[in-house]
Amino acid sequence: MAAVGDIQGPEWRGRRWRRPRLDAWTVGAVILAVVVASPVLAVFAMALAPDDGVWTHLASTVLPEYLYNTIRLFIGVAVGVLLAGVGPAWLVSMCRFPGRRIFEWALLLPLAVPAYVIAFVYTDLLEYAGPVQIALRELFGWTSARDYWFPDIRSLDGAIAMMSLVFYPYVYLLTRAAFISQSVCLLEASRILGRGPWESFFTVALPLARPAIAAGLSLALMETLADFGTVQYFAVDTFTTGIYRVWLDVNEPAAAQMAATLFVLVLALIWIERRSRRDQRYHQTTTRYRELPGYHLSGWRKWAAVGACAAPIILGFAIPAAVLGDYALANLAGGLDARFATDLWNSLMLAGLAAFVCIAAAVFLAYGVRLNGGRLLAGLTRFASIGYAIPGSVLAVGAVPPLAYLDHAIDAVMEATFDISTGLVFSGTVAALIFAYVVRFMALANGAVDSALTRVTPSMDGAARTLGTGPAGTLWRVHLPLIRGGVLAGATLVFVEVLKELPATILLRPFNFQTLATRAYEYASDERIAEAALPALTIVLAGIIPVIILSRAIRRSRPGHAAGG
């Protein structure tokens, strides 16, 4: 019943506390968790320095505004992603209506669109000089902005709309996976006991899917929290932009303190959500699976369903892709050069590498927990996920000290033993970038791998071991083939996120190194939208293919699903 990306990992309550054994798995897991958590720890360390009374100034001036905007953004995006994510997930899983098979995967497409890209596309469309307002002026004979009112896209509400459109796929993805894996029996029982389809949805299916919905929502909200580009572009001051501004302009300890506060708040929220369903269990009590019911919709219901599924795709994907495509085509001759090929290769290489490392680390941790159990390992696994709760721009700065520390240490050892100065081994290399990505996106891989592995019955391990295969062999030959779907899902999420990632890439990359994201950003930040379009569109296109693969993997993940279907 665990969702594809439940970032919390398995419930380990009830697992008995054992004395941690000092074996390779435990030692490896401790090292891995400490390494991955080091940037977060670095931020906390910076927060300990004196802030020269800056907090008082901030609290009496800008903090209330940051707080207000952040909370409104959170609530707005939460409502938005639930509306755009849960409904369509239910419709495509349980109902039959025209285009369902297409909507099933197309609803994931906005995942490939970076929030900062959709923000500048809609600004371009809806601002005064954009085609929409020009058409309206021509239609009604208005001559200037003073003649009429038009909603300002560059506002808090605009930011809520933009983020809802590109972050709802997290909710959709996990909720749909949960609906698919629900046993129909419970729904049938509900119907037999006299509940209508709507009531069954609200009283049975929805509560059953709550852990998945919560996991999806928390992913979407973490992304909201991490977003810098959109709110910056829309002139909305949130905690995240505030931290960055204080960091650069005022003082580092104060900024680190803000980041630490925010981090604690996020952990508290996650904890409250988990606690609130502590005494509820969401296990399937039967292994009977049948084809999902497939309510046939007709009449207005049919078209309402089509509309509910088409709207997020059109707004979150089709329109941005069309606008970018239009600009990119006009600028194609100037944009498609050797530089573009290098940017593309760099982006794909980083995303592929980061996905691989994240998944390898996640499998290592999850399998360690499975072999040894115990709270220590399970706790470490979760500890290794905390990077996701820190905004990328903060994490990027936090990654600097550990990397430099490691480099200095290696340099000192090499100098002492071989009299060679190695200089910077990691800082300013691709390795530093991969490190930052792993810290930031480990949670995605952890959740996916962990929930897939939990679903594999322990008797498999027993059988393999009885037949003489060691733990590593069992992992390689038994588990990995079984959890392929989860691995693929986790790898895809990391891949797509790295393609879009900006703050860490800008700060930590090597010299002369550009990715599609940094190139698009450089042009867009100088209001050169036309030149930014091609790299931005390429990010979207490169993200689509894995997203489609992911969608197919989910359909196959349904228990009892015919192999190859």
Partner: protein, 345 residues
């Protein structure tokens, strides 16, 4: 299994990739590593010209905030040789964080006037830009606004646009007002302009001119080179219309003069290619590079005697505020607090 096999070969390919991309190769005498706060496409032609002249390859990373932290943390292992910035305050931050070193160069001393470089050679100004008032030429009469202080006049209520006070150009302007008239007057100025804003501060300087063109506001504060960049924008010709909607005013000509800022450079404290870094900065201060800046980016050359671009010259000569830039940079953190208190985002 095939996925895993693919992953394994991916990992192998990755190892090669890491080796290939693992940062700049160790100094072989023919390189210089540059962090630039200015977008790479703005400075690339200039750097290419330097490489052609000197045979020295320039490796660039366009950076934003955070790079100072990185230079500090990496210390003597740092690979960077020189840093280019777009303003004086960032140069001062680097000097105070001790990430720049002193450089003695007769060429630089000859090319750059003393007020535009550090006495010990820890930073060098390379171009000058002025922060001017522009106003709608349809809705504002010439002479209606002549000083920065006029922006607080209630007659402009709901008619002024600026970019966010978080930007360094806004901060150093306020710092120059603190320097000239003291903190209280600066606070009144910030609150007064805030009260007259037509909209929440947003966008870059260009976006303010666009807002005048579309009638959202009548008056704005911008840096001079944007005027040239818009008037000659062939890629997006609509910007020529924006620029045609405004008149340019160099403020405070009858008293302290118009606030100016510099773009500049410093040599990194632990530069491995120190000589090359100095050569690069010397090149950027030469007649050739200075007239390129002037012609392609519409900035004022820092080197006396270098001819202004005709576009730049068309805005006319002006009196610049001669307050020590170093002093202005020192007041920037104070300016941030004042903007905060004024609620000026």
């Amino acid at each position: 299994m095939t996925i895993l096999q693919k992953s394994t070969s991916l990992a192998a390919a990755a190892t090669v990739a890491v080796a290939t991309f693992a940062g700049p190769a160790a100094a072989n005498g023919g390189e210089v590593n540059l962090y630039s706060y200015r977008q790479e496409f703005l400075i690339r032609p200039l750097l290419d010209a330097f490489t052609k002249d000197s045979g020295i390859k320039v490796n660039v990373q366009y950076v934003k905030g955070g790079i100072l932290k990185r230079m500090q943390a990496e210390g003597e292992d740092s690979a960077v040789d020189a840093v280019l910035t777009a303003d004086i305050a960032t140069l001062r931050q680097h000097v105070e964080a001790d990430t720049f070193q002193a450089v003695k160069s007769d060429v630089l001393a000859a090319n750059i006037p003393a007020q535009y470089r550090h006495p010990d050679g820890k930073w060098f100004g390379l171009t000058v830009r002025a922060r001017v008032i522009v106003h709608s030429n349809a809705r504002v009469k010439p002479g209606e606004i002549t000083r920065y202080e006029d922006l607080t006049d209630p007659k402009w209520k709901g008619r002024i646009c600026t970019r966010s006070s978080g930007h360094v150009y806004m901060k150093s302007l306020l710092a120059s007002i603190i320097a000239a008239k003291g903190e209280d007057a600066a606070q009144q100025w910030a609150s007064g302009v805030k009260a007259n804003l037509a909209r929440k501060p947003q966008g870059n300087d260009r976006a303010q001119v666009k807002a005048i063109w579309q009638g959202e506001c009548d008056v704005a504060l911008i840096n001079t080179y944007y005027i040239g960049a818009m008037r000659h924008n062939e890629a997006e010709p609509v910007q020529k219309e924006w620029a045609a909607a405004i008149d340019v005013v160099f403020p405070n000509q009858d008293d302290r003069g118009t606030h100016v800022n510099i773009s500049g450079a410093g040599v990194a404290k632990h530069a491995k290619n120190r000589a090359n870094a100095i050569r690069l900065i010397e090149f950027l201060s030469s007649d050739k590079a200075q007239s390129y800046y002037a012609a392609s980016n519409y900035e004022y050359p820092v080197k006396p005697g270098v001819e202004w671009d005709p576009e730049v010259a068309s805005w006319g000569k002006f009196k610049a505020d001669d307050t020590d830039l170093w002093k202005i940079a020192e007041l920037v953190p104070q300016a941030v607090l004042i903007y905060d208190r004024a609620g000026y985002r």
